[in-house]
């Protein structure tokens, strides 16, 4: 093997806390060979982003500091470099792209200005504009001359990430650090960006450090993988050996928790997790949730006379029904109208069409009339950090729905909150604590307990596990399955993640542009998709198996 482009040896990073230094990165060492893609994979808090910022020397000075180790770029240690020399390395020798393309570009500067600025910073002013156009061309952006004059808000998320990549590669860096570059993108866009990165790696001869939590992306992209956990590398290996014969227990757990599309091919419904008798609703019983011709449009902006412009139709003519003990999955990409549908059936946004919740037609009900109906349906949101009041104890948060609907005495409500905490796998002692004392997975359990407080028949789960690490996600999904089996809950399960939908649902509706394009039993939709769009969605999901990855272009490096 030739000399590594980048080698990190014994890197330690300390966090400054009021109680003294606290080590967050312990002796991390790895090498990146020329033309190689190294994946740093791990769950939240594993130290993968800290590692990348340390290499760029962009750690926030007030809170994080490199305590020991060396970072060598072609043999030269970057840590002792003076600032001016380090600036030449940043963007020149090592470039970086980030997770959030929506916020990573300056909103008040044109795409062209931001691109040429990067080129000028390292390669002088000569024909920077022409070079910028060539770079947009290289990242397969059509009509690059026009795009140069546009501003970030005029571009889609995928397009912005292409601009970020063009900016990063514009000075032909030796190393590209990509920190979760596709996590915020739709799955079909993710597939395009990953392909683009693979192709450009060859064209530009860049080595890549790819940081991700998604083992599917690792399998698609990596030559070698380092698994991080709590600031340490637990296992480093070539991608094929890592997936086929993982040495460490943690790696095995991580891989086992990854949902695989096609895992339930040939099986009916979600897996059984309890011995409770299956809920077979008597056919005479009506659906818990019924929607016919449901439409939602958001009003347009007012013109200067105060008149409304025609609105944007978020959902158009959607129909479905959901019975007791069953799960209907709404799957689609951002802007498909799946979340809006979820809000509409709870009466949270104005809608047109017919919606029946447990036999009550809710179309046109006033807020007051809606109240008793609302008890029957609850919602679990995506972000367990934002959906709990930080100043309200967990017990009070769970009991609040009961208090709002004036159910029971305060003592009874406390008793019920304790019982619900036990029900979702937490301890009743936790009731007195506050949300910040809990992890993301525990918080989502608390949100589930709160949703269960009113004994609803329907739970709308909007991307409820999207913010959780895979290992935690699997346990929360199992809890939801268990509650369904024992309590006969109906779930309207909204997700962009095809693998999660496959695991959880009896029936599936695929949404696009506000309409349901394909619906049916989970088996029918997943095993014999009729629509091209459904097939496209399924094909775009990264497969967590490096031996089955898409054919790669020849390595030009």
């Amino acid at each position: 093997m030739t000399a590594p482009v980048l080698s990190v040896e014994g890197l330690c990073v300390d966090a400054r806390t009021p109680s003294g230094a606290h080590r967050v990165l312990h002796e991390v060492s790895f090498h990146l060979g020329a033309g190689e893609t190294l994946c740093l994979a791990g769950e939240s808090g594993s130290g993968k982003s800290v590692t990348s910022l340390a290499i760029m020397r962009l750690l926030p000075k007030a809170s994080l500091r490199v305590a020991a180790g060396s970072i060598r770029l072609e043999g030269r240690d970057l840590l002792p470099l003076p600032d001016r020399a380090m600036r030449r390395v940043r963007g020149g020798d090592i470039a970086m792209i980030f997770q959030e393309p929506m916020t990573s570009l300056n909103p008040v500067m044109s795409v062209g200005a931001q691109l040429t600025e990067a080129i000028r910073a390292h390669q002088g002013a000569a024909n920077a504009a022409a070079r910028a156009r060539d770079m947009l061309d290289a990242v397969r952006i059509a009509d690059p001359a026009r795009r140069l004059g546009q501003y970030p808000h005029e571009l889609s998320g995928g397009m912005r990430q292409r601009v970020m990549i063009a900016m990063a590669l514009s000075c032909r860096p030796k190393v590209l650090i990509a920190d979760e570059p596709t996590t915020a993108l739709d799955v079909t866009v993710q597939a395009q960006i990953l392909t683009l990165m693979r192709e450009l790696k060859g064209e530009f001869g860049t080595s890549i450090i790819l940081i991700t939590h998604d083992m599917g992306v690792v399998a698609e992209m990596a030559d070698r993988v380092a698994i991080l956990r709590a600031g340490r590398i637990v296992e480093a290996a070539g991608v094929v050996p890592l997936f086929t014969v993982p040495r460490e227990e943690y790696t095995r757990t991580l891989l086992a928790a990854v949902p695989r599309l096609g895992a339930r091919t040939g099986l009916e419904g979600p897996p059984r997790v309890t011995a409770a008798p299956a809920h077979e609703p008597p056919p005479a019983e009506g659906p818990v949730l019924f929607a016919r011709d449901l439409s939602v449009s958001y009003p347009g902006p007012r013109n200067w006379l105060g008149l409304r412009a025609p609105g944007h139709r978020a959902v158009e003519g959607v129909s479905f029904e959901l019975r007791r003990g069953r799960t209907l999955g709404l799957v689609g990409e951002s802007g498909s109208g799946k979340s809006t549908t979820g809000k509409a059936v709870l009466g949270l946004v104005p809608f047109a069409g017919e919606v029946t919740l447990d036999g009550v037609a809710i179309t046109g009900l006033s807020a007051r009339e809606m109240r008793p109906v609302r008890r029957k349906a609850q919602m679990i949101f995506q972000d367990p950090y934002a959906s709990l009041d930080p100043r309200m104890s967990v017990g009070a948060a769970i009991a609040e729905p009961l208090a709002i609907h004036r159910i029971g005495t305060p003592a009874e409500r406390r008793e019920r909150a304790a019982e619900l905490l036990r029900r979702v796998g937490l301890s009743p002692d936790h009731a007195a604590r506050y949300p910040h004392e809990f992890s993301g997975g525990q918080r989502q359990r608390i949100c589930i307990a709160r949703a269960l407080a009113l004994e609803p028949k329907l739970i709308v789960a909007d991307e409820s596990v999207a913010a959780l690490d895979v290992s935690v996600r699997a346990r929360v999904l199992d809890l939801m399955l268990e509650l369904q089996e024992t309590m006969g809950l109906a779930y309207l399960f909204i997700s962009h993640d095809m693998a999660v939908i496959e695991r959880m649902c009896h029936d599936v509706a695929v949404m696009r542009g506000g309409r349901i394009v394909e619906a049916g039993s989970r088996r029918a939709v997943f095993e014999n998709p009729v629509e091209a769009y459904t097939r496209e969605l399924m094909a775009a999901v990264p497969v967590p198996d490096p031996t089955r990855r898409a054919p790669r272009p020849p390595n030009a490096a």
Binding site: R90, A95, E100, V108, A121, H153, M164
Partner: protein
């Protein structure tokens, strides 16, 4: 952009109409009868009646308001009771002095506030930051007349660097302009500091650093324009503060602007002048906000699109 301008212009016109109506009603709520005031102490009821007829005060109220508006559109603000001349030329003659004072005041306010705010944000929680925040607190909480007297005592009476009062040379402008600007500077320093701290934590600032740009370029080219948006909105609102500030400052420094004119008119119950100054001030405030509204999209392309 054009639609935005049209919408704002219509709103501005409606606000001015409202101000005209309110000042007109206030005039009639006053206990003083202008005809009696004009006629003087020894006038007979017949003289008062004839003056009343002459001024159109015997007409029904809506007709009077209509005439008042028509006159306004012709630039006629009525006649001063005491000075026996038209109000519009009186105000017009004094406007340059006040506008000069305000422009200098705003320039000082923004220059000091912006510089200190940016420095404080970059040195967050450091000694410089604490010093700036303390100073700005003192600046914000000191009454304007006190600042005026202090500046006069130190720089005019004791050091003799600047004249005590008067108008005409740039030296005359310095103390009044600083008196006007210092208070706002403290306020601006705080707003700029918090806006900058927020912007410096944004992802695109990290991107700019990752490109290898120099620190001044990251701060001036990437962070500052984003932090300026709230400041621009503030300048628009600030014009009103400035108008009332000029009354005090012009009185203390003997600055011959419309603030001083208003001050004298209030003492003499010279209603047409008070109304004229009120309208001109309202016009300046509305215009200031209009300019701020139209300046924001120049910086922020997202507003331009909306």
């Amino acid at each position: 952009m054009l639609a935005l301008f049209a919408r704002r212009a219509v709103q501005a016109a409606l606000i001015l109409l409202g101000v005209a109506a309110i000042t007109f009603v206030l005039l009639y709520a006053l206990p003083a009868d202008p005809a009696v005031l004009l006629a003087g102490r020894n006038a007979t009821p017949a003289t008062v009646a004839s003056i009343r007829h002459q001024l159109g005060l015997d007409l029904p109220l809506p007709v009077q308001f209509w005439n008042y508006l028509v006159n306004l559109l012709h630039g006629d603000l009525g006649r001063s009771f005491n000075q026996k001349t038209a109000v519009a030329p009186l105000i017009l003659a004094r406007l340059p002095a006040t506008l000069t004072l305000m422009a200098a005041g705003i320039a000082i306010e923004v220059a000091i506030g912006l510089t200190l705010g940016v420095i404080a944000a970059l040195r967050r929680d450091g000694v410089v930051d604490r010093l700036v925040m303390t100073l700005s607190f003192v600046g914000v909480s000191t009454p304007q007349f006190l600042v005026a007297l202090l500046l006069l005592y130190i720089f005019a009476a004791t050091l003799g660097w600047f004249p005590m009062s008067g108008y005409g040379t740039p030296a005359h402008l310095v103390l009044p302009a600083f008196t006007l600007g210092i208070l706002g500077a403290g306020w601006y320093a705080r707003v700029v500091r918090s806006a900058m701290i927020e912007v410096l934590g944004q992802d695109y600032v990290r991107t700019a650093n990752a490109k290898g740009l120099s620190a001044p370029r990251v701060v001036l080219r990437h962070a500052l324009p984003n932090a300026l948006l709230p400041v621009i909105a503030m300048i628009g609102i600030d014009i009103g503060q400035f108008m009332s500030g000029t009354v005090v400052v012009e009185a203390v420094y003997g600055w011959p602007g419309i603030g001083q004119l208003a001050w004298q008119a209030i003492q003499q119950v010279d209603i047409p002048i008070i109304m004229g100054v009120t309208l001109v001030s309202a016009f300046a405030i509305v215009l200031g906000n209009l300019v701020a509204d139209l300046a924001a999209p120049l910086i922020d392309p997202r507003i331009r699109a909306a």
